[in-house]
């Protein structure tokens, strides 16, 4: 009859429940934390399964962007009939852009998600509140990997060639993921701060457009006016695009890789604690 006894709610206080308030008491250990993140990642993955349309952006964005840019701008930038050369230029850049676009989606998702009653349940449970946010990031990184896989597939079909090694390609993907994850913290913070998902979207577009087009993603900055060149020099997206380009096409990568990593660490160091704090205090 053990199953019957287990259905009974314990009427008394649960077993080990010290009365004293030592600050570390009840802290969640690393293994428990990973288990919680795992359960929440599963939740997010099941949501995607339930709502496959939420993968449309990841599936179609890389296809449409690559085709558009290669065939619309490719000839203009690399010369008529020279689209293939532009493929090798733009695909690494688009890899950087994918990270940014997907990160933007996290903000609106968080805003929606966190209005739901289930967040109250999570926040009233004995789990680290950051695990809810980290799970979100893990799932979004997974989505980003799918987008990059599709991007590369389309790229290969249009003539993309890896001039270095598979290892360098993987490094460029890893770098995009690191930078993408840091951006997600910004958008999570926005999503937690702003009132509606539309507001988040509007704000994100304002930040996104100049960063994307004022960069080396689509065209070499050498033809841009001086002041814009100085902007693109420090634009993390330029550096990420340059780094990915160098890793895939060969060339010096130390500088752009370093700048990208510094940006990633700096952004994460500032926005992650703020986002976790904001989530903790949300009422």
């Amino acid at each position: 009859m053990s199953t019957v006894t287990t259905t009974k709610p314990a009427p008394t206080a649960p077993g080990p429940a010290p009365v004293d308030g030592r600050p570390g008491e009840g802290r969640i250990g690393l293994r428990a934390n990973l288990r919680h993140i795992g359960a929440l990642v599963r939740r997010n993955a099941l949501q995607i399964k339930q709502d496959p349309e939420s993968m449309f952006d990841v599936l179609f964005m890389p296809i449409i962007f690559t085709l558009l840019f290669v065939f619309v701008f490719g000839g203009a930038i690399s010369g008529k009939g020279q689209q293939e050369a532009y493929v090798n230029y733009v695909v690494p850049g688009l890899m950087a852009m994918m990270g940014m676009n997907i990160a933007m989606g996290v903000g609106t998702g968080v805003n929606d998600d966190f209005k739901k009653g289930v967040m109250d349940r999570f926040r009233s449970m004995p789990i680290a509140r950051s695990s809810v946010l980290i799970a979100k990031i893990v799932v979004e990184l997974g989505r980003m990997m799918v987008a990059i896989a599709i991007l590369l597939t389309v790229g290969f079909m249009l003539g993309l060639s890896i001039k270095t090694s598979v290892f360098d390609l993987l490094l460029s993907i890893g770098l995009s993921a690191v930078f993408g994850a840091s951006l997600m913290w910004i958008f999570i913070l926005l999503g937690l701060t702003m009132k509606t998902a539309q507001a988040v979207q509007g704000m994100a577009m304002l930040v996104l457009m100049p960063l994307q087009f004022g960069s080396s993603i689509f065209a070499p900055p050498s033809t841009m006016p001086g002041w814009l060149q100085s902007f693109t020099d420090y634009n993390p997206l330029s550096n990420l695009a340059d780094a990915a380009r160098g890793l895939i096409n060969g060339g010096a990568v130390a500088h752009p890789v370093t700048v990208t990593l510094i940006w990633s660490v700096a952004i994460t160091a500032v926005t992650m604690p703020l986002a976790v704090r904001k989530f903790r205090q949300k009422t």
């Binding site: 009974k8 206080a13 009365v19 308030g21 949501q47 349940r121």
Partner: protein, 344 residues
Amino acid sequence: MVDMTRNDKNPVHGSHAVEVRGLVKHYGETKALDGVDLDVREGTVLGVLGPNGAGKTTLVRCLSTLIVPDAGTATVAGFDVVRQPRQLRRTIGLTGQYASVDEKLSGWENLYMIGRLLDLSRKDARSRADELLERFSLTDAAKKAAMNYSGGMRRRLDLAASMIGRPAVLYLDEPTTGLDPRTRNEVWDEVQRMVAEGATVLLTTQYMEEAEQLANELTVIDKGKVIANGKVDELKARVGGRTLRIRPVSSSDLPGMARSLAEAGLDGVAGSQAVPDEGVLLVPILSDEQLTAVVGLLAARGYAIADLGTYLPSLDEVFLAITGQRPASVEDSVPTEKTEEVAA
């Protein structure tokens, strides 16, 4: 209360699972909680009765560590809401008026996820999910996404979700608001079953009837303040309890019936009142025995009765009886009560 041993398997019945002293929470000018004191004895149900915006949800959110009070103290199972939130969260289960389950996940996946978040092993989380779905009659809908559940099923899933960790204290925040009467009864049955098994429950409600059905003790709050508390029976006596409404076949019998009751000297019944306009006699009733006696007496005197029934005072009438005025905060909504629905 420092020497209270929480590890005791059989704590003294009657010790407090929830203790709230002078709890205050302000939102700008709005005093959502304005110095609330209350206790919930272990193994009992405390009903917190009050109109919309009285501070009920703010109270539950404070006690669930979702918001931090501005002043006062509150302990749940011996843990302080501000200083020991992590330990406290291990002892509570929360069911809000807004179903707090993941709509996109199936019933089973919801329960499994919560089991894992509560550190059950995969195997235990699985069997606990199966077990609770069975218990709450949701086995057939186990694989359906919660968004396709009916209101009552969702509320039951929510209750099941709150039960996974076998919480010492369960908060039910307006568990039947917005449900139809049949579904409401289903939820009541479940709550009564949990109580019979020894759960300690803090229940908020706007309905006197619900409080009477489920609660042992009542705290009535309005505008963030406790305006009355005590055992349900005591409060019922104060506000008049049930009223028996009798309609004789012939309304000319009314004066005779009232006189018979007055002469019989039944406790409290002297206050009976004939309403000739409606052709009914209203008799205040304090106990089931009294109800039987009144009906028996009238039958014995040979009065022909066409219709009879009892009704409870509404929240309005309760407030009227306690404070001499109708609840003030029905109209103004407190921003914290999660009333985010925009008027169409």
